[in-house]
Amino acid sequence: MSHLVGWLCHFTPVEIFTALGYTPYRLLGREGNNPRAATYLVGNLCPYVQSCLEAAIKQELPLLAGVVIARSCNAMIHLANVWPHYGAGGKTVVLDVPRRFDEDAVFYFSQNLRRLAAELAPPGEQQLSEERLWAAITWWEEQRAAWRELLACRAAGEDPPGGKEIMDGLARWQTPLNPQEAGKWETVINRLTGQPRGKAARRPRLLLAGSILPRELITMVEECGGLSVFEDSCNGMRLLLAPAARAEGDPYLYLARLYLGGPPCPRMVGDREKRRQYWAAAVDRFRIQGIIYHVMKFCDAAMYDFIALKAFCEKKGLPLLRLDGDFSGGNRGQWQTRLEAFLEMLGVG
């Protein structure tokens, strides 16, 4: 029996998986077309979500004991509907996530997390003890703290790890194939810290944002002479940045507050001001010179988020480029001129 449990949205508290003895494995999607998924999902739906289903149907995923699908956006709701029928085997557990951050939302989410722990528990397993959950919380917090330390170097350093290295590292860290691999998280982070670089000089420091940032985009940005120093996306650094203040006695309330209280994602419609403050802090701390926003096709949340970001950038006098993409890995031709022209605006070339 597999000990891997799949997850998608960054509002999924992986601490619960660890406490139950599972290894969390993030479904990061796949490049290419999604003809099999198109049989079960409508065409005008998030290509990342479609690609996750495609990967499952094509049996490209490792054997999973189950998948936790956070119903955090419209596309995820559709995925949660079809996954039990056409996705990978194992349990499908659905997690509702509030769209705002206040005491009612925290309490509601904590109750959902308690239910998640019960539904995910292996057959015959006793109720998850608070001690085990707190131990898992501590273990994950240790990892996130190490990541934050690395990111602090990016904020201050003249020669920080680039976005491609960070995103590749994050992907490796989120997709361990067994508990031994998951336990070697320090190796992943140390590899990034110790890599020789020496190519950051005079490259414009960029914030890359969007619902999902495709690897293709980050690679292109850095090939063309930009340097990504902050990635604000579902698959970026957001999940590392939640403030960890352990005032709660109840681990579920703690987790609910931690996940809902982290950097707001575009779906947190009630937190627009908090999102603006988050951008402002990132721009100042990471000395951002320009922002590239990737709008995933059919992601309404990202489109509205872009409008708010545009207003923010106009106020700050910060150059902003919007690139639309479909997560297919075939967007290079569409982006090349825009990206190069944007970098020329910032003085590259």
């Binding site: 001129t337 020329e344 070339g349």
Partner: protein
């Protein structure tokens, strides 16, 4: 004395401009083809002949346009967005918005007072609002593309073209022809449709006056007129709008 060249490989035409001491000395426009490097070399040769100079006396060459990576003899590659901005700034430093409609894309570029690109927007992965769109429609109407401008000016009003998708618009045009609608009105309607598409982009980026237009489609007075009516302002068109990207590239090659 400085002698530089700019080569602009577009999807439909390849342009070369030679600049001597900051002034245009020669220019050539050839049809693009599969042998991008060969055509670029030929265009440059023609422009050099006009300038009365040889390739050995060039101080620098900048390549631009869709095929800029396919010019092996260029020292630098710069996007057409920066090059069109530079070319127009050279002609009219007071211009703040450039509308460039080429064969496969359309762009709206905002310039600052120093001629630098301040912001820009390009069309989506779609032929709508481009020269290619007009070429397909010209084919459907059996009218030479270069005569569309004159035709449209004979029409008192434009036919309503509701679809901007090249494929759907073509069938709409065929239906209008079948209904007996005058060709001039259909062409004017097509120009209006292109203008609406481009003006939507211009509004997205926050266009400012004065406005200039570059690219091959600027040679079509019908499109320029529709754009002027939709924007509500006059548009400056250089004598040869097709070569402005290459001109900008040649100017950027000065260093």
């Amino acid at each position: 004395m400085s002698l530089t060249a700019g080569v602009d490989i577009g999807s439909l035409t390849t342009k070369a401009v030679v600049v001597r001491d900051g002034r245009m000395a020669g220019a050539a426009v050839l049809r693009s083809g599969v042998d991008s490097a060969g055509i670029a070399e030929k265009a440059l040769q023609e422009a050099l002949e006009q300038a009365g100079a040889g390739a050995e006396s060039l101080d620098g060459i900048v390549a631009t346009g869709y095929g800029r990576i396919r010019v092996p003899f260029a020292q630098r590659r710069v996007t057409e967005i920066t090059c069109h901005a530079r070319g127009i700034y050279h002609l009219w430093p007071e211009v703040r918005t450039v509308i460039d409609i080429g064969g496969q894309d359309s762009k709206v570029i905002l310039l600052d007072a120093g001629g630098k690109v301040r912001d820009f927007v390009m069309n989506e992965k779609c032929a709508a609002g481009t020269g290619r769109f007009l070429e397909v429609m010209a084919g459907a109407l059996d009218v030479p593309v270069e005569e569309m401008g004159a035709f449209s000016q004979q029409a008192g009003q434009g036919a309503s073209i509701s679809s901007m998708c090249t494929v759907f618009a073509e069938s709409e045009v065929v239906s209008l022809v079948a209904e007996g609608r005058p060709v001039a009105e259909i062409i004017r309607g097509l120009h209006n449709a292109v203008a609406q598409r481009v003006v939507a982009m211009a509004q997205r980026v926050g266009w400012e006056e004065p406005v200039a237009m570059t690219g091959g489609v600027a040679k079509n007075p019908g499109v320029v007129k529709s754009l002027e009516e939709t924007l509500g302002t006059s548009i400056r068109v250089p004598p040869d709008p097709q070569i402005i990207g290459a001109l900008g590239a040649a100017l950027l090659a000065i260093g």
